[in-house]
Subunit: 374 residues, 2 copies
C-alpha cells in the first residue's frame, strides 16, 4: 500500500514552515518528515542531542547511523538526501509532499530513486495563517519592542536641531546610521533584532526599501520602519511612523493627512470575510480621488506602488498578502497595514499599524501615536 | 539554436549565491538570470528603483510590465515564475541551470512550460571559495568585531565572583543571557549582528549548539562562540574561546591543553593542496592517542563529533567543509578551524581561529589570545 509523508529539508532559521512544524531552530539544513502524524527529524551528531531535547519530533534519527548502515551496503558517500530516502523507504513511504520552495536537487534525486514528489504552495500549513493566542502575544511583544525602539529614534529627531538643512544632535550631524544604531540597541535590550531598520528622509524616503544613509534632513518627512524578530520566540513585529523635524511643506503635510485617512479607512474596513484585494483597490482609488495617482513617471514609480499589508508571524511577510487576497480575512490573522505615498520632490510618507482580525473588526496592537511634525 | 541561462529565484538576504551574483540584498524572493554574461534582474515596483540604482545587473526588468503584457494576452494571474518564463522565452532561452536549492515549484513549472532545468551543487560559483582581497578584508572586519565583543564578554566573566558555584557580577547572577546581550551590544556598535551567540558553561557546553541559559558556573569551562555578520558587507566572522573563572578541575584543564595542541597542529598543517579530510582525520586520531575518543555513550555523543572547520564568507558555513574536503585547500580560502572536545561530567572546550590560506601556509586573522583560567 503506498504511503505518503510530508517532507522538509531546509535550515529552519530561515524556513518558517519547518520551524513551525519542528519547533527546532537550526542554521544548517536538516530533513524532517511526518508519516501519519508521526514526526521524524534526521540530525547530525552535532545537533542530535539538542534535537532530542528540544525538537517537536516523535523520533530523532541519527544521520551518522543511517550513513553507516548505507556504507556497509557499499555506498561510497551518503548525504542527507540519500539518508532521508533510506529512512523513508524503511518506513514504507513512496510519495512525499513538500513545500513549494523545497530544493530541486532533493526533489529530482528522490524522484530518481522512485519516489513521487509533489509540492504545495504557501500557506503550506494553512493553520499558520490564523494565529493561536500565544502566537498573537509573541507578535505583540515584538511590536512593543519595535515601538519602544522607534520612540527612542523619534526622540533623537525631536531633540535635534536644524543647521543648514540637516539635523544635528550633540554636536554632530544626526544621521540615519545613528538613529538606526539607537533603534537596534533598544531592540536588543528587548531580545529582538531587525536586520534592516529603515530611517530614510527627504528624497531617500521616496524609495520604500532604501534603508537610509547620511545626515537626516530638517523640515522633510523621515520614514522610520522597524520590523524586529524576537531572538527567542522568532515571531516578528512590524510598524512604521513618518516624522518631520520642524514644519513640513504643505504638500508633504497633505501626504501625511491623506495617508492617515487611508490607514483609518483601511483599519475600519478590516473584518472577517473582507477580501484583501478589495481593501487594496479601495486604497488606491481613495488616493486617486484625493489627487495622488500611482504611476511610473520619468522612469520612476510614484504614488502607492506596494501592497497595503501582509500577514506577520514566523515570517515578516506571510499570507495573506492584502494586495492579492481573494479568500477573505479570518479572525486571528495578524496583519500589518501600511498605506503610503511617495512623490519624488515632495517625499515619502508611510504609516503602518499591526492589528489582529477579530470577530467584529480589529484589535489594534499598535500603541505608538502617529505624530507628524515636531 | 538552444540558448542557456543561469537562473536564480530566491531572497538574497538568505541566499548567498544570489547575493554574490547580483550584489542586491532583498528580503523577498526575486528572479535573476544570466545569458551569455548579461545579467537580468526582475523587480517588483517596490524594489525596482533600488535595484536599478544598486544591483549588479545589466538590465532590471519590471515585473509589473511583464505581468501587464501577459494579462493582455489573456493570462489571469501572473506570478514571478510565469513572468520569468516569459522573459526567458523573449530572449530565446530554453534551458536553465540553477543552484541545487532552487525551489521545486519553479523548476517543475518551468519544465512544464518546456524549459530544460538542470541544477548544480555548491559551490555553485566556484570562485566564491577563493576570496578576493576585499572579501578577506570584510571577513577580517567581522572577525575584529567578534573579538572585541568576545573580549567584552570575557571581561565580565573575569570581573565576576563565585558564590555557591555560580558567577555573580554587580550584585546579580552573571547569566549566559547577560553576557550574550553585552556581546551583541558590542557587535552592533561595529555594525554587525550575531543571531545565535553561544555563551554556555558547565554541562551545557557539552552540547556544541546549546546557546546557553541561566547562571554561569564557577570553576567550569564556559564556551563563547561568536559569529557575526556585517550588516553592510554581509560577510561573516567566526571565533570561539573557552574560559574558566577560577581554577578548573585537572580533567578540564587537560581538555584545554589538548584542544590547543590540536588547534596548533591543524593550523601548522593548513596549506595549499592539503585535503580537509586529512586534517579532520589527523585531529580525531590525535585526540584518540591522547586518550580522548569520539563515540556515543549512554545515548550521548562525546569526544570530537563535528567538523574541524569550514569556509567563511557570505555564508557562515560554506565550502570547503574540512570534514569531507577531498579536493585540497587553495590560497585565498578563508577558513574557521575549530577543534573541540566535549565530555559530559567534565565539560566542553572549543578553540576556533579564522585564517586565510596563503602560499606557504596561513595568515591567522585572529588576534584574541587563548586564555583558559582567569
Amino acid at each position: 500500500m503506498p504511503r505518503e509523508a510530508v517532507l522538509h529539508f531546509a535550515a529552519s532559521e530561515t524556513d518558517s514552515n519547518l520551524l513551525y512544524a519542528s519547533g527546532f531552530a537550526a542554521g544548517d539544513p536538516f530533513p524532517f518528515f511526518v508519516i501519519d502524524g508521526r514526526r521524524f527529524l534526521v540530525a547530525s551528531d552535532l545537533e542530535i542531542d539538542r534535537a532530542k531535547r528540544t525538537a517537536r519530533a516523535d523520533e530523532v534519527l541519527s544521520f551518522s547511523e543511517l550513513q553507516k548502515r548505507l556504507k556497509e551496503r557499499g555506498r561510497e558517500s551518503v548525504d542527507f538526501i540519500e539518508a532521508t530516502a533510506e529512512a523513508l523507504r524503511e518506513r514504507g513511504v513512496d510519495a512525499v509532499t513538500t513545500p513549494a520552495d523545497f530544493p530541486v536537487e532533493a526533489a529530482d534525486r528522490l524522484r530518481g530513486a522512485g519516489f513521487r514528489v509533489g509540492w504545495r504552495k504557501n500557506p503550506f500549513y494553512p493553520e499558520r495563517v490564523v494565529k493561536r493566542p500565544d502566537e498573537v502575544e509573541h507578535c505583540r511583544a515584538s511590536l512593543q519592542a519595535a515601538e519602544r525602539a522607534t520612540g527612542r529614534g523619534i526622540a533623537m529627531i525631536r531633540a535635534s536641531e536644524a543647521r543648514g538643512g540637516d539635523l544635528w544632535l550633540d554636536g554632530a550631524p544626526l544621521t540615519s546610521e545613528r538613529v538606526k544604531a539607537a533603534i537596534n540597541g533598544s531592540l536588543l535590550e528587548d531580545g529582538c533584532f531587525c536586520g534592516t531598520v529603515i530611517v530614510a528622509g527627504g528624497e531617500q524616503a521616496c524609495d520604500p526599501h532604501e534603508t537610509g544613509h547620511g545626515p537626516l534632513p530638517a523640515g522633510r518627512p523621515i520614514i522610520l520602519d522597524v520590523f524586529p524578530r524576537s531572538l527567542t520566540s522568532r515571531y516578528w513585529g512590524d510598524m512604521t511612523r513618518t516624522v518631520v523635524k520642524g514644519r513640513a511643506a504643505p504638500e508633504a503635510r497633505k501626504l501625511f493627512d491623506v495617508v492617515m485617512e487611508a490607514l483609518e479607512r483601511a483599519l475600519a474596513a478590516v473584518r472577517p470575510g473582507v477580501k484583501g484585494e478589495e481593501l487594496q483597490r479601495a486604497t488606491v482609488e481613495f488616493f486617486e480621488k484625493e489627487g495622488f495617482p500611482t504611476r511610473s513617471r520619468e522612469g520612476r514609480m510614484e504614488g502607492f506602488f506596494h501592497g497595503l499589508g501582509h500577514g506577520v508571524g514566523l515570517d515578516i511577510h506571510e499570507a495573506p498578502s492584502l494586495k492579492i487576497d481573494k479568500e477573505g480575512l479570518k479572525p486571528g490573522m495578524v496583519l500589518a497595514v501600511e498605506p503610503a505615498l511617495y512623490y519624488p520632490g515632495i517625499g515619502g510618507v508611510r504609516e503602518e499599524d499591526l492589528v489582529v482580525v477579530r470577530e467584529g473588526g480589529i484589535e489594534n496592537l499598535s500603541k505608538l501615536p502617529h505624530v507628524f511634525e515636531m
